[in-house]
């Protein structure tokens, strides 16, 4: 059974009128929720999860594909029209996109984002369809030791590479792993961290955790600092592009796609790095470098394409290995598990038709996005003007509804509030939320693989590195962990190379506000041991 015929079967399933309708509903709902400021794709998927519960798995996942791409697209609309990136992956789009909108070129910015997303999404999904079976073939040869190593790598990479403070990332990861421990131990059946509460015996529902950390935490956090002055939202007509815009956009779309897909597929993936790389590349290659910073269309076209290609790339390890690498994929993995479907190498064998229907509906969702959203853009722009009290009250309302409808028990709402307070605190003190969410989801799987590994080796820890791939991955893990130390040694050996290093560091954190004061950094280096989160005398936090 080759890829093509499987995919055609997938299309046959996805193109029935009923399933097509679900795809349309998914795209519209996903975009509508994704457009709302403050709601990134991960939150969109988490909030809309209950809507899919009543459906049978195939239809649910078809709808899901629509929600996924819809949420991504909605986020880009928000960042262009409001300079409000819902998720860190849209930060770069907002740089030029919002400038374009302010210069009266909102229609072109939205058009290049939409068409670029379509191009990148289509290529990315094609690559997904081609790559996933190859990854699966490779993955079935892997044993528990390698799986364990890959999961360790994914967790550490997300924790140590992204975000501005590694220490705070690890703190967040620790909390997530602890939350993941709650419930019955899968091997011995003993209760851990349940404090005698029977309701905790099954563990915390991942939907409740995700909705609490993303939506409730965000609503509380915004409420605490709500801007009382009216917002400036740029009115927009139907998106369109002139000949010149097309000419300037198509190459960035393709280059962005080339950056996005591989990064999305890596365990430390995510869209932050490729979108930023795409931005930098377009700036360098552009014939109009003077326009960058004032609304250059290449600066929207490239990063948006990279973002969407990364979204497709993320699904490769998610489907083939059961390994989520960003928040959205983590929530999707939770959705899969709630249907009793375990993503991983066996998925393509056991649930083949469902997976291919999902991939086919990613193509369909992508096309629908273009057809539906170009004419509807003015409507989405109106959504941005929703009065803030209604918006955040609505987020709380639907978060409650979503979390309650999973098990219909008020206890889940108590957990929602407690974890929402945790999310609030994390935003207040700069703890990244992604390591926590991944820790909750991957923690139990990690423990399962660890125990399986040592069971096979009869308790000998050497079993952990009994496979060559596992050894290779541990080398990468070590490099990531000791990166700051290596950097320090390198800088001591070649002090004149330091500025170049500072420049490289900036690429990992695409945040214009974060300046790298080299002198301060060296000063702080002296009293730094293994603590990877340093501060300069000014009290400003630096990226290690």
């Amino acid at each position: 059974m080759d890829v093509f015929s499987s995919l055609m079967d997938g299309f046959a399933t996805a193109l029935t009128p009923m399933n097509l309708l679900y795809a349309v509903i998914g795209v519209v709902l996903g975009t509508a929720v994704g457009v709302l400021p403050g709601l990134g794709p991960a939150m969109t998927v988490a909030l809309l999860l209950p809507v899919t519960y009543a459906l049978e798995p195939t239809s649910a996942f078809i709808m899901f594909a629509g929600i996924y791409y819809g949420g991504m697209y909605g986020g880009s609309t928000t960042s262009i029209l409001l300079n409000t990136p819902g998720e860190s992956s849209s930060v770069v789009t907002a740089i030029e996109g919002n400038k374009m909108a302010k210069a009266g070129r909102a229609a072109q910015a939205l058009a290049t984002a939409a068409i670029g997303s379509f191009v990148a999404g289509t290529i990315g999904t094609t690559l997904l369809a081609v790559c996933a079976p190859i990854v699966v073939q490779f993955a079935v040869s892997l044993g528990s030791p390698s799986y364990f190593a890959i999961m360790v790598l994914a967790l550490l990479a997300v924790t140590a590479v992204l975000g501005s403070s590694r220490l705070r990332g690890f703190a967040s990861l620790g909390l997530g792993l602890a939350i993941g421990l709650v419930g019955m131990d899968s091997v011995t059946g003993q209760q851990r961290l349940t404090f005698g509460l029977p309701l905790l015996a099954d563990g915390l529902d991942i939907v409740v955790v995700a909705v609490a950390i993303f939506a409730v935490g965000e609503a509380l956090w915004v409420a605490a600092h709500l801007r009382r002055t009216p917002l400036h939202i740029i009115p927009v007509g139907r998106p369109w592009m002139g000949k010149q815009d097309w000419k300037r956009s198509w190459k960035p779309w393709l280059r962005g796609t080339a950056f996005g897909f591989p990064f999305g597929a890596l365990p430390a993936g995510g869209a932050e790095i490729p979108t930023f790389l795409s931005y930098v590349t377009e700036k360098r290659l552009s014939k109009h470098p003077e326009e960058f910073g004032h609304g250059a269309i290449e600066g929207v076209a490239g990063p948006e394409a990279a973002n969407n290609a990364a979204a497709a790339g993320t699904l490769t390890p998610m489907l083939a290995l059961g390994l989520p690498t960003n928040a959205t994929a983590a929530v999707m993995l939770a959705a899969f598990t709630s249907y009793g479907i375990q993503p991983g190498p066996q998925l393509f064998a056991t649930e083949g038709p469902l997976v291919w229907a999902l991939i086919a509906s990613l193509f369909i969702g992508n096309l629908l996005l273009l057809i539906i959203n170009l004419p509807l853009a003015p409507v989405w722009a109106k959504l941005l003007q929703l009065p803030r009290p209604y918006l955040y009250a609505g987020i709380l309302f639907f978060a409650t509804l979503g979390a309650y409808s999973v098990n219909l028990q008020a206890f889940d709402l108590v957990m929602l509030l407690v974890l929402g307070a945790l999310g609030f605190m994390m935003r207040r003190f700069g703890l990244p939320v992604l390591p926590l969410v991944l820790g909750v989801i991957l923690g139990p799987r990690l423990e399962g693989q660890l125990r399986k590994t040592l069971q096979l080796s009869a308790g000998d820890p050497a079993g952990l590195w009994s496979e060559p791939i596992a050894v290779g991955i541990y080398v990468i893990v070590a490099i990531i962990l000791f990166w700051p130390l290596l950097m320090r040694l390198w800088r001591m050996a070649r002090p004149e190379a330091a500025p170049a290093v500072a420049g490289m560091q900036a690429t990992t954190v695409p945040d214009a506000a974060r300046t790298n004061d080299e002198n301060a950094d060296t000063l702080a280096m002296d009293d730094r041991a293994t603590d990877t989160s340093q501060t300069t005398p000014a009290g400003r936090q630096e990226n290690p």
Binding site: A171, R192, L193, A224, G394, L396, L408, E447, L450, Q455
Partner: protein, 170 residues
Amino acid sequence: MSSSPTVASRLKGRSELGVALLLGAAGLVVFLDANGLATPYSRSDPVGPKTVPFIVAGLLVICAVLLALNVLRGGSGEAEGWEDVDLAHPVDWKTVLPLVGAFVANILLIDWAGWVISGTVLFWGSVWALGGRHYVRDGLISLALSILTFYGFFLGLGIALPAGLLEGIL
């Protein structure tokens, strides 16, 4: 802000020590909980249910200590900001607490009074807390949302939210 910025910044630093405390406490709880598990040695499960909790507890405690040191040395996490968030003013408890109040009211009411009533209270209370002052309009919107979601979930998704006091009417 009459006090000097150093006092203010030191206070901010101190509040972050609470995070370190929370991490440490969480680590301790995880450790004690795992320590209390009785595990006979088993050949088929040499790792046992304790090992991973011990590692997690260790991670949490190490993070707590390092974070405390980091904060005492003047480090601070970057608060998350964007267009709707104005970090210039401090945490506005007058908004947050009523919001939490509305949320708690919903938890207390949902099983007894039903979703339509508790959801209305939740939405209306949240809008009020966030500064909405069109009492009647907000009330109507709240009620409409609750009723719509109640029927939407029942008819569209087959999920029966509790009807509570209005059972028989809805």
